[in-house]
């Protein structure tokens, strides 16, 4: 089997802010893959990304990007990383042309032609101040900038949040085209799991500063399932299978971490494939200590 190198590797990374702690975070992103970094707001996604970029200091642990430690040549390594933030970060009075002038003097591999091609593709004006852009246009401008210096790794922090479905779909298409090239990798942080279900190969799920779940997306989806049963049947579900459950007046809904095993054990119960969003919600509930929670309304 071909040995796939990891483009990003985090080993036991910790960062303590006092009221929030990133706790022994370890995961890796293989080359050529799209890794969905999911978690609710405030789970530690942005902090982790900032640590990967060496934008903030970590208390402990190691970070490797392209196989090299970020402690040594982080500035040099960032030459091959394109970054898209949830907010634009460029000054409102700058226009796309001026951003080109800045970036071509920052990146060694800046490709001016490609940048203007992207602007054209995204229908972005070149002489209009970006402060007057809509959220979608701002995001596209960031993507055009991130993709115009031959970056091999694209790190995006909530790039699709707050965008309408049409623009979101356009973005996902761009990301798909980007990863067509074998050595291109994406780390995409989002709490919109629907986008990741369409795009991601790998999934890393963080909650409360801890990695809750990680692995191949298809395997995770294949493994987990939503089991529906009566309330009184809940106690019969094996503890090792049960992630967490939600109950209502109509019955109980349980996330099980081994669908096939659950199907064998409980053939009389309905077990459906789980979506990433459901997996996320049930794991968050478990992390909150709510192995069983009451839901208002129907299931």
């Amino acid at each position: 089997m071909e040995d796939i190198a990891n483009v990003i590797e985090l080993k036991d990374v910790s960062k303590d802010y006092g009221d929030f702690k990133l706790d022994d975070v370890s995961f890796s992103v293989p080359e050529g893959s799209v890794c969905g970094f999911i978690g609710q707001n405030g789970a530690g996604k942005t902090t982790t990304i900032q640590i990967i970029l060496d934008a903030i200091n970590r208390d402990s642990g190691e970070v490797y990007v392209f196989g090299k430690s970020m402690d040594k040549d982080s500035a040099l390594l960032r030459e091959n990383i394109g970054v898209v933030f949830d907010e634009m970060g460029f000054h409102d009075f700058l226009n796309a042309r001026q951003i080109n002038t800045i970036m071509k003097n920052v990146y060694k591999n800046w490709n001016q032609e490609r940048y203007f091609e992207y602007l054209k593709l995204f229908s972005l004006p070149t002489k209009k101040a970006c402060g007057s852009f809509s959220r979608g246009m701002r995001m596209k401008l960031q993507i055009a900038t991130a993709l115009s210096h031959n970056a091999k790794l694209l790190i995006m922090d909530e790039p699709t949040s707050g965008l309408d479905p049409i623009v979101r779909n356009e973005m996902l298409q761009i990301f798909r085209e980007y990863v067509v090239e074998e050595d291109h990798t994406i780390l995409l942080s989002s709490h919109i799991t629907g986008d990741l279900e369409k795009l991601a190969d790998e999934v890393v799920f963080i909650d409360g500063g801890k990695i809750v779940l990680k692995g191949n997306k298809d395997e995770i989806l294949e493994k987990h399932g939503i089991l529906r049963c009566k309330k009184d049947e809940l106690k019969n579900i094996s503890e090792s299978l049960l992630v967490s459950a939600e109950t209502s007046s109509l019955g109980a809904e349980v996330l099980v971490n081994d669908r096939k095993a659950a199907e064998k054990l409980y053939p009389e119960m309905i077990i459906e494939p789980a979506e990433l969003e459901q997996i996320m919600i049930y794991y968050v509930n478990r992390a909150k200590g709510q192995k069983t929670s009451e839901r208002q309304g129907d299931l």
Binding site: A75, R78, M103
Partner: protein, 255 residues
Amino acid sequence: MKGLLIKDFFCLKKQLINYGFIIAGVIVISVMFVLSYNFGNIHAGFTEMVDSGQNTGESITIIASNAMLLFMLIPIACTGDITNLVIEDEKASFYKVASALPVSVGRRVVCRFMAGYLFIVLGAAVDLILSVILSSLTDVISLEKYCGVIITFASVMMVYISLFILFTYILGKGKTTYANILPLLIGLLVCICVSFNKIKAFLTDTDDNALMDLYNRTTDFMFHRSYLLLTAAIIISGGAYFTAVCIAKRKRGVA
């Protein structure tokens, strides 16, 4: 690094255009003042004051040179104001973008200092042009003395900018106003300490000429020993830079 300097220029472009008008106005007014001092109404007024014994020729020269020093101060003070640079970067959350660029923290700090110094050089260049014009029109202050004044003002601005940048790193985001005020307070405190005896003598009425003496010493220092201030400014700037780099590396996430 060049790219970040270009970004800084874009940030201050509007301000520089606005100040351009002010500086042009200062040049025009200063030339008009000098012409009037030599041949016009100011000349006539001063002559009358000297003739009637209201003022001596020496004090008239002091008044004129004061006005000219003020003209010199405006361009360098205008161009050296980089407060907006920090405010604009904070407003746009540019520190996020900066942290993703292939530019090290140290270089980002160098860039900020360089931007400040470049604008001082720009102001000093305008001052030099102004001093060539003024010294060729009147003999109140020679070009050599003007150069001393430019070096003094540039040194003061250099210290101010260095401390301002240092305080922006120490205090962190959203504290630009404090970072701006603190160097001014430090400067004021130093001035008071240096001239404490003279100020005390003036306030306690023990020396009637204390203020005039202080003025003469200050101008004499500017005209002849400004290199001392420049040396001090270079040392302070160096210290501020290294401290700023240490703080920025520790804190990260700086523009």
